[in-house]
């Protein structure tokens, strides 16, 4: 007997960390207790993208979208919705309106190609992937297409690498195909390292078979029989799902010897990384797979010609892979109809920071930042003013208000001093200090630099030290010149992308927020009130009524004064925690 209802529970990392597992178990128990386990199928699925409101539960076929569901709600969902068919009003996203998932603004401007199966299928069950046309692309490639056909199709589609640099995928594959060698390899880069980015993790967790299928297609195309997925050990759930998917694909004969009865054989293994950012760089990644220390080597030769153990290797990032089966199935004309002139298809962004709907989104290339932030993201938290969005993580730059309407693609982002990167998008508001943010990114790259080449190792540290000085009010205008010179040297002389792009956040913020740098250096002020050394809290005598609220909340007891008389802050003891500022009801405390 078919099921009457399907309960889709998000089992991505974000929802799991907000009690998704307990919720799943509670629903399972409740269905059993009410004797309706044969009527509703419980499906553990991948990320719905709407992480802000997680854990998410979607009930099909009526498309009810429940948000912030806890284990304590399991009973109500089962007894009301499943047994009696009444929606649980309190858990609906837009209480009262009962919009279906497709009608929620968050999903309106999105187009899901990479995330097509996330939140739809159970990623631990290969049959559901197959039912959604899974492995149909592999079928088509093996029985109807030659390797050259596949490459032509990818070239015509205009697919470019989603890992950041945007190199044309079809071209990359053709290099490896044309290279002469007895052994070739296919590698998936799942070493997602940008702070705030988690699209690759979610894809691997929610739709692992799409990666396996695409890699197998590449194996057939370039003539490789072995694939490796390099993934950081910090992604345990993604690893578990990928391992499970590989085992299932092997059982079905979709990996291994003589796939689907053909002469073509291909297998995939996982390789776990220890979470070093530099291992996202392809040559360092390959070194790490070989068991060596993860450090980059000069290119050329590129891995496409001389990669893993010196053999020609196709290496692509998770998101790039996930696009491939869809291009084969739906054709290059369909794919190239989406996006802009130079950038085709969609891009997944991890939207985080000061935004109402943080989460995972997929939009056509050419969508503007305004659409992403205000239509999909629901605007800035607390109704504050938008200041900038950082894309490309520690290798990228900021996009300011004047560029809100720029269609986003590889070229447009580069022309305004940022980059696509892997797709982290961090939104900042008026309370964020750009010097502070830049310092954070520099600290990250200094930490993650492998130390092999001097420009990155020494240049990065010097850059950081100068910025630290500026944030303490000890900077000079000459320092800005030094930053520019250093950036120039690092860009030109660093061995790999990490060092070459490390100065990007500095250069970008210096360009668009020059006045903020001047305020720190000349006025010794931090306009956003973030840099503690430039900040002081003072009590305005006329406004203070002596209610003692501030003195009571101060953790270091540096506020003194008699009841009903103006108080005073002892600046030498003040740790600038800002608690008194938040507590004062009379606006008597001045921050600045």
């Amino acid at each position: 007997m078919a099921y009457k209802n399907y309960i889709l529970v998000c089992a991505g990392t974000a929802c799991e960390s907000s009690k998704g597992v307990a919720l799943y178990e509670a629903l399972e128990k409740e269905l059993k207790e009410r004797g309706v386990e044969a009527e509703a199928q419980l499906v553990k699925t991948g990320c719905f993208g709407f992480c802000e409101q997680g854990p998410i539960v979607k009930i099909l076929p009526d498309e009810t979208f429940y948000v912030k569901v806890g284990p304590e709600h399991a009973k109500e969902i089962v007894s009301e919705h499943i047994v009696k068919g009444r929606k649980v009003e309190a858990l609906l996203y837009d209480k009262g309106q009962a919009k279906t998932a497709d009608e929620i603004e968050f999903y309106q401007k999105q187009q899901r190609i990479v995330l097509r199966n996330c939140g739809v299928i159970n990623p631990e069950y290969i049959d559901e992937y197959i039912a959604r046309d899974g492995y149909a692309a592999l079928e088509k490639v093996l029985f109807e297409m030659t390797p050259d056909d596949v490459i032509d199709e990818l070239k015509a589609a205009g697919l470019r690498g989603r890992g950041g640099a945007g190199f044309p995928t079809g071209l990359k594959w053709s290099f490896t195909k044309n290279a002469q060698s007895d052994q070739k390899y296919v590698v998936c880069n799942a070493d997602e390292g940008d702070p705030g980015a988690y699209m690759d993790r979610s894809t691997a967790e929610g739709d692992p078979h799409s990666i396996l299928e695409a890699m197998t297609i590449a194996g057939y195309t370039v003539g490789a029989n072995q694939g490796f997925i390099y993934i950081r050990a910090e992604y345990p759930l993604a690893i578990e799902r990928l391992e499970n998917a590989i085992a299932q694909a092997r059982e079905y004969g979709l990996l291994g010897n003589n796939i689907l009865g053909t002469d073509f054989s291909f297998d995939i293994e996982l390789r776990l990384g220890a979470g070093a950012f530099v291992c996202g760089e392809e040559t360092a990644l390959l070194a790490s797979i070989e068991g060596k220390r993860g450090m980059p080597i000069p290119r050329p030769p590129f891995p496409a010609v001389k990669g893993l153990w010196g053999k020609p290797t196709v290496i692509n990032n998770v998101e790039t892979w996930a696009n491939v089966p869809m291009i084969i199935l739906k054709g290059s004309t369909w794919f190239s109809s989406i996006g802009t002139a130079t950038s085709k298809g969609t891009k997944v962004f991890a939207l985080t920071g000061k935004i109402n709907n943080s989460g995972l989104i997929e939009v056509p290339m050419g969508t503007t930042l305004r659409e992403i932030i205000y239509d999909i993201g629901g605007g800035i938290k607390g109704g504050k003013k938008f200041k900038a969005a950082q894309t490309g993580g520690p290798s990228g730059g900021v996009i300011t208000e004047e560029f809100l309407d720029t269609p986003i693609d590889y070229e447009s982002l580069q022309s305004i001093g940022s980059m696509m990167g892997s797709g982290g998008m961090i939104v900042m508001d008026e309370d964020d200090c750009m010097i502070d943010v830049t310092k954070f990114y520099l600290e990250f790259t200094v930490d993650e630099s492998c130390g092999k080449c001097a420009p990155c190792r020494i240049g990065g540290r010097t850059n950081y030290n100068i910025l630290d000085k500026i944030s303490k009010g000890q900077g000079t205008m000459e320092d800005l010149e030094k930053l520019k010179d250093l950036a120039q040297a690092m860009r030109k002389a660093s061995l790999c992308g990490l060092g070459q792009t490390a100065p990007n956040p500095v250069m970008s913020t210096m360009k668009y927020f020059a006045d903020e740098y001047r305020a720190h250096i000349i006025d010794k002020k931090c306009p956003a009130g973030k840099c503690k050394d430039l900040l002081s809290y003072t009590i305005i005598e006329d406004k203070c009524v002596g209610c003692t609220a501030c003195a009571r909340v101060c953790p270091v007891s540096c506020i003194s004064g008699e009841v009903k008389k103006p108080h005073e802050i002892d600046q030498s003891k003040c740790i600038k925690c800002g608690q008194c500022f938040g507590k004062c009801k009379f606006d008597a405390i001045l921050k600045g």
Partner: protein, 129 residues
């Protein structure tokens, strides 16, 4: 399962696809909504629901969405079922048991003709608006 051939894979895909379309509500033009309040369930709405599912799949009807709802207020003629087919008026059927459910699928959904003897002809004011 043993290693698959091309035929095996295609067969499995077709079989699973039919199962999964049940979940999907897009591309579905017709709707069957079953009142599953306490009154509906007591009067046999679950059996009717099963009959609908069974009949739809045995006739390979894939464009019909089937959903449950709460009590429609017509407790005296439960199980009540609302059927919406494009190009036809929205109809509420009363006293839908297993047999009537199968007739609705065959005559109304597939045959595009109303099952006249089970139409609930005095709907409550809030339902007809």
């Amino acid at each position: 399962m043993a290693k698959m051939t091309l035929e095996d894979l295609r067969k499995l895909r077709e079989g699973k696809k039919a199962e999964m379309t049940q979940r999907d509500s897009s591309d579905k033009s017709a709707r069957i909504i079953i009142g599953m309040g306490t009154c509906g369930i007591a009067a046999g709405a679950k059996e009717a629901f099963d009959a609908f599912l069974d009949e739809l799949s045995s006739h390979n009807v894939t464009d019909t969405k089937i959903a449950q709802t709460g009590c429609m207020g017509l407790c005296f003629s439960e199980p009540t079922v609302e059927v919406e087919v494009p190009g036809m008026p929205r109809v509420i059927y009363g006293n839908v048991d297993d047999k009537v459910a199968r007739r609705i699928v065959k005559e109304h959904i597939i045959g595009k003709a109303l099952v006249s003897d089970h139409i609930f002809d005095k709907p409550a004011a809030d339902i007809i608006k």
